[in-house]
């Protein structure tokens, strides 16, 4: 066999192997996704996580977010609009996905604010001022804390609560859910346990409309 033939056939075999592996992997993950869709709500929801909207709403959007994520900040008002479109029927549960470095401290601050019932106020404050505490995609927890100083709440309690075991536990449980659900980017939405077919606000709108149709 000439060198050329050897070279070309090995190149062909390697490329073929790559494409076959891709197809096999895609099939495998779509089976996993199907399995996750059939899971009970337990994986998606966490008792005590911050929720906006009526408790008896039959449609629950679970959003995994990182306070340092720009897209999450962009989606925040859109999700609000979406809730207003179906008054009383849709609620949103926020779960932590501290994927940016430094964000793990910031989500603890948010959870501590949640203990004072100030989660959404604090989150809006952080989203609106993201440029001031996220530098080159790295969260600066001290700066985030500094921004929250502008809010009326018990700041001593906030600082103390951040190291509470229950705050840690809440964040850890969310991080565990990230692994279970194989979430690698934020924001990630689940509507009554169903993932978005592909990322985008229109897809979310459609999924919510579908869920409202099914449950009301």
């Amino acid at each position: 066999m000439s060198k050329k033939t050897i070279f070309i056939s090995v190149a062909g075999i390697l490329l073929l192997a790559f494409f076959m592996a891709t197809v096999i992997y895609k099939n495998h993950t779509s089976t996993l996704q199907g399995a996750s869709a059939g899971r009970d709500q337990g994986v998606f929801e966490r008792q005590g996580a911050p929720v906006k909207g009526p408790a008896d709403a039959r449609v629950t959007i679970v959003e995994f977010f990182d306070p340092a994520c720009g897209t999450c900040a962009d989606f925040y008002p859109l999700v609000k609009q979406l809730m207003d479109r179906y008054p009383g029927k849709v609620r949103v549960m926020m779960r932590y996905a501290p994927l940016h470095s430094g964000s793990d401290e910031v989500v603890k601050t948010l959870e501590a604010a949640h203990l004072q019932g100030k989660f959404f106020q604090a989150l809006e404050m952080l989203f609106n001022n993201q440029r001031r505490w996220v530098v080159n995609h790295v969260s600066q927890p001290d700066r985030a804390l500094g921004i929250l100083k502008g809010m009326a709440m018990d700041h001593e309690k906030l600082a103390a609560d951040m190291s509470q075991p229950e705050v840690n536990r809440a964040v850890e449980e969310d991080v565990q859910a990230l692994r279970t659900l194989n979430i690698k980017a934020t924001p990630e939405f689940f509507v009554n346990g169903r993932p978005l077919p592909s990322f985008g606000f229109e897809q979310l709108e459609r999924l919510v409309a579908q869920a409202v149709d099914e449950t009301y």
């Binding site: 060198k3 070279f7 390697l14 992997y25 895609k26 940016h100 080159n136 790295v138």
Partner: protein
Amino acid sequence: MEITEKVVGNRSAWSLLFAAWVLVTVATLGSLFFSEVMGVPVCVLCWYQRIAMYPLVLVLSIGLLPYDPRVLRYAAALAIAGWLTALFHVLVVAGIVPEKAQPCVQGIPCSETHISLLGFLNIPTLSLLTFTAIGVLLFYAHKLESS
């Protein structure tokens, strides 16, 4: 007699280079599989190693067909650059290089590893092993060439 030796030497040098090419191609496709198919995030240090690894696929191909021993020099430069970066990366993962000394500011920490084969082979280690093997192959090919 001398000519036959030269031809034999050339042929084995070609085989060594070919083996190196297979290695870099598998590494390239493998890393693309991790990032593009499996969605594993790529940190800055990984990108530096990719910059050294990916061109080797083409550079070695050109040197193999037709065989041109000068390719050893060109490939060695890339292999050494890649090997040094991989070594640095392995040290970062092992915690020997302090967190602050690493150039990761893109939100993907280089000290975190995502894949582990057989319990200890993470991607940076795999990269270091591959660059080492390429270096060894290039070195022996060079030895055959100069003898």
